[in-house]
């Protein structure tokens, strides 16, 4: 079940993220020095350069910041940036929606998908 953890996408810095998303939880990183969250997750804080950061479970709620529909893919993939409730805007896909219904600003919620590489990944549904 956790075979995907040997995929080269997973490294020591992000292992906890990958374990959690396999259980349906989206982890982002928080920083006690500047109180700002960041994504993608790093051991240090990209905002204030503090050496230490900690894992925070995101609510999974957010809104679409921007998106596009890859018209030549079958099925047509909706590539998007979703602005999480906690602050960071993350690169993702919108799933389970008719591309014609997707709108910037629409509220979305976490729905974990399996990527082509066999990785569980944080995608979002409307």
């Amino acid at each position: 079940m956790s075979d995907y953890l040997s995929h080269p996408a997973v490294n020591p810095e992000t292992l906890e993220f990958w374990k959690a998303i396999g259980q349906g939880k989206l982890l982002i990183k928080g920083c006690r020095a500047c109180n700002e969250a960041h994504f993608y997750p790093r051991a240090h804080c990209p905002h204030c350069d503090a050496d230490e950061t900690h894992w925070v479970e995101a609510s999974g709620r957010g809104s679409i910041y921007s998106f596009t529909v890859m018209r030549r893919e079958n099925p047509q993939r909706v590539v998007a940036y979703v602005a999480l409730e906690e602050g960071p805007t993350i690169f993702t896909n919108i799933v389970g929606a008719d591309p014609a219904d997707v709108r910037i600003g629409a509220p979305v919620h976490l729905q974990v998908s399996q990527s082509q590489e066999g990785l569980p990944v944080p995608t979002f549904a409307m």
Binding site: A9, E13, Y40, M70, T89, L119
Partner: protein, 386 residues
Amino acid sequence: MAAHRRAFIAGVFEHPTRKAVNKSLGQLHREVAAGALADAGLTRADVDGYFVAGDNTNLYPLSFIDYLGLRPKVIGATDTGGSAYVTHVGQAIEAIEAGKCEVALITLAGKPRTGGAAADPVPDWPLPDVPFEQPFGRAVINTYAMCAARHAYEYGTTSEQLAWVKVAFSHHAQHNPNAMLRNVVTVDEVLESPMIADPLHRLDCCVVSDGGGAIVVVSEAVAKALARPLVAVRGYGDAVKHQAGGKVDLTYTATRWSAAVAYEEAGVTAADIRYASVYDSFTITVLEQIEDLGFAEKGKGGAFVADGGLISGVGRLAVNTDGGGLCNNHPANRGGMTKIIEAVRQLRGEAHPAVQVPGLELALVNATGGWLGTRHAAATMILETK
């Protein structure tokens, strides 16, 4: 106007091919190198600096130094994608000013059209961003398309306005016998072309072409002995913009920062510029850069480019009079090289008479490289005739 920099662009060459069926990658590098050196009135023996971008994991610079038979004292291989060649000129100038070399050669070649090479590299999983983007189908076009979608959402930029960028460059390309697409197109034709990644249509995308180009940058001492008209670099700047840990803003580019440095060093503003080469990987790339270069207020780029705003002799600013990457040439999926070359043609008065800006003394070159919506570089250069 006094040049701030003590090095000059003395030679340029754009390979005439757009489909190099019977040539190797090495031959293309060799032919553009020879072309630019001949244009400058120099030979291989004069070259003591060499710059090339490409797949650094394969030690690309060593392969081409070997293939070309060079003995450089200065080498550079900064790879930021399409903007790398503007950066290379900047780095060549610094090396020359520091006395490290006197004749720097910069080459670009590639065969994406016949070689079928994708614009997107093979996933390199150890890169920190790749695991968080590749599984979602990150591709060059979707990172640009999301910029266009957000720009439209915030500022009301329309697909018609984006289409005008392509229309303008097609007006220029009709005069370029080497251009890959020489037919003048209309706004409707752009909008009727297939949607690739909303809101970008096929004709919002640059061409895929084989070929290349080269530039020779020389010291003042070498320049004085040459017969060619010299082009001085008056100012340049580099910048990189990324997701900043999740603080994503797709409505502006790193050009905002690279241009500020270049303008300050050159002591000029956008109001002084009548010709600009602007890397047009997609129509949205030009529109955002036009704003970030200060030609239009943020959000007003659509109105600036509409109705022929970028057509030489029609609009306030002539842009990409060779037809740009949208119509002329996009060798190796990298647009910065051909942008410099057309700006040099304009400053020498060697552009096609139908698109030549009369009495030009200053020109601007701007290129972005990488993925506009995830992480990209920008390089801005102000050139002048000497």
